[in-house]
């Protein structure tokens, strides 16, 4: 948090003023310079300003009558660049059509040059500054989440996991539907998050839903949302997970457990990229990347008539199979050391290590619960162990518990 506050305090609001009236331009700049949070630069034309646009101003203040291009044309050009810049038009031009056009193109404010203009501008900049600072704080937090979910979050050096890395790299910039398979506890959600946070969608939402954890009669409303009065108890509109994930990624965990009726609707969503909330006929366009996961054989479920064949084939977009831990060789030791170190640090405990025969034992074990089980075993051993070393006596495997 300290790092976040420091980053925010350091950031000035960068403002570009485009005004060819030297006198008024200077006055605006001097007025803005009174605010210690502002770094204002004055330009005499849009051309001059665009030459410095790489400095990424937070706010651009434009006059309407400018050489070569007027203020509205400059707003249009700024929009085409796709930059996140707040635009204020500060002009003597009172023509309603110009004002409407400016707002249509996304101007945040239109200030008429009159005796209150500079006070209004100062207030407007302060309000926008608060929003810009909030956005910057959110960006810092997003960056922290992205860092935490970088490829380094997937730990291991075995050939089996290297193959997974290679597959993930192939689709890192793609929107292709990915199906992650593997036994329970192999890290399917970690892989899904890593795919999202290393994709162009990384700054948008990652929405995970465990299909198996939601009762059949609720899954449809959870996924697609509903309108007020859609069913008894629907007291207001609610967005479904697909809408929440719009622009980002939805992770459908345990897809094999999904109800047959909902499978049909899901297939339509995957094919047409549109949803309708329950109780509404209105279709909503979706721009969502779908990542699904299962620990079951979907093919077997199709044979048992528990999974639709058409959906099965639709989900075969890009398969990533996660190996069970018992097939990952020395990764067991690497992961065990990682979990031990992490647990000690989180719980402010002295650093601990494994005795050599403990490591041998960890390697021999079959790990039916995979990484999830390994993590539990290590954390438990860490709490049980008396000294600096974790010994065989501290290891309690699930079978022993059962």
């Amino acid at each position: 948090m300290e790092q976040l506050v420091t980053a925010t305090q350091r950031s000035l609001i960068k403002i570009f003023i485009v005004e060819d009236d030297v006198m008024f331009g200077d006055l605006v700049k001097m007025k803005l310079d009174e605010n210690p949070q502002v770094d204002a630069v004055l330009f005499k034309s849009g051309e001059e300003m665009f030459r410095e646009i790489h400095q990424q101003p937070d706010i651009v203040i434009l006059d309407y009558f400018l050489p070569y291009k007027n203020g509205v044309q400059i707003i249009e050009e700024l929009q085409n660049l796709g930059l996140d810049i707040a635009v204020i038009l500060l002009s003597g031009q009172k023509n309603v059509e110009v004002v409407v056009e400016a707002y249509k193109l996304g101007a945040k404010n239109y200030i008429i040059k009159n005796e209150n203009a500079l006070v209004e501008l100062d207030n407007c900049v302060r309000n926008l500054g608060d929003n810009i600072n909030l956005k910057k704080e959110i960006d810092v937090l997003k960056d922290q989440i992205i860092d935490r979910n970088s490829y380094s979050g997937i730990i291991g050096e075995s050939q089996a996991i290297q193959r997974v890395f290679a597959l993930m790299q192939k689709i890192k910039n793609s929107d292709v539907l990915a199906l992650i398979t593997g036994e329970s506890g192999t890290g399917k959600e970690v892989v899904a998050k890593t795919l999202h946070y290393n994709s162009p969608r990384r700054r948008k939402s990652f929405v995970a839903i465990n299909v198996a954890a939601i009762p059949d009669d609720l899954i449809e409303s959870e996924l697609f949302g509903y309108e007020k009065g859609a069913f008894t108890g629907a007291s207001g509109r609610r967005l479904g997970k697909f809408e929440q994930a719009n622009g980002g990624t939805i992770f459908l965990d345990e897809i094999g457990e999904i109800d047959l009726n909902v499978q049909k609707k899901l297939l339509r969503v995957l094919q047409e990229k549109k949803i309708s909330r329950l109780g509404s006929n209105k279709e909503i366009d979706l721009n969502v990347r779908v990542i699904a996961a299962t620990n079951k054989s979907l093919g077997q479920l199709v044979k048992e008539n528990k999974f639709r064949e058409d959906l099965y084939y639709r989900l075969q977009g890009f398969l990533i199979h996660l190996p069970p831990l018992r097939e990952r060789g020395n990764d067991v030791i690497i992961l065990a050391k990682y979990f031990l170190s992490e647990f000690c640090a989180l719980n402010k405990m002295e650093k601990k290590s494994f005795s050599s025969n403990t490591l041998m034992d960890l390697m021999k074990y079959r790990w039916p619960g995979n990484i999830r089980e390994l993590k539990s075993v290590i954390e438990r051993a860490c709490l049980i162990s008396e000294g600096e070393k974790i010994t065989l006596d501290d290891l309690i495997y699930s079978e022993a518990i059962n």
Binding site: D21, F24, K113, V119
Partner: protein, 119 residues
């Protein structure tokens, strides 16, 4: 400041929040710019470049308003209107003469009172 008849610096002082250096800088800019703009008005009207003429008038109108020159308000509005819509072009020379004369008086007024400005 009391010696001003054509100017009223109260608005400028208000927007500069009492910052006298800022007020002085604005007046300096006005003194530098106005003779150039007067010259431009003459040249552009002779050349019939009404688009550029309009731009200069528009800027002058804003500067004069900042300096509290009320006596030229309607003339500047008319010049803007006529040049933008290309109407009544025959009366423009007389209006320019009026603007130039008045601006000349303003500059003299500033010069004779300059010592008091910023104090």
């Amino acid at each position: 400041m009391e010696g001003f008849k054509l100017l009223d610096l109260s608005y400028l002082e208000q927007v500069c929040s009492g910052n006298k250096a800022m007020v002085t800088k604005m007046i300096d800019l006005f003194v530098q710019q106005t003779p150039l703009q007067m010259e431009q008005l003459r040249k552009l009207s002779s050349a019939g470049d009404w688009q550029e003429f309009f731009n200069v008038v528009h800027k002058m109108k804003s500067s004069l308003s900042m300096m509290g020159v009320k006596s030229l308000e309607s003339t500047m509005v008319n010049l803007e209107d006529y040049s933008k819509n290309r109407i009544k072009l025959d009366v423009i020379p007389d209006l320019i003469t009026h603007v130039i004369d008045t601006c000349g008086h303003i500059l003299v007024e500033i010069e004779s009172n300059y010592q008091t400005i910023g104090k």
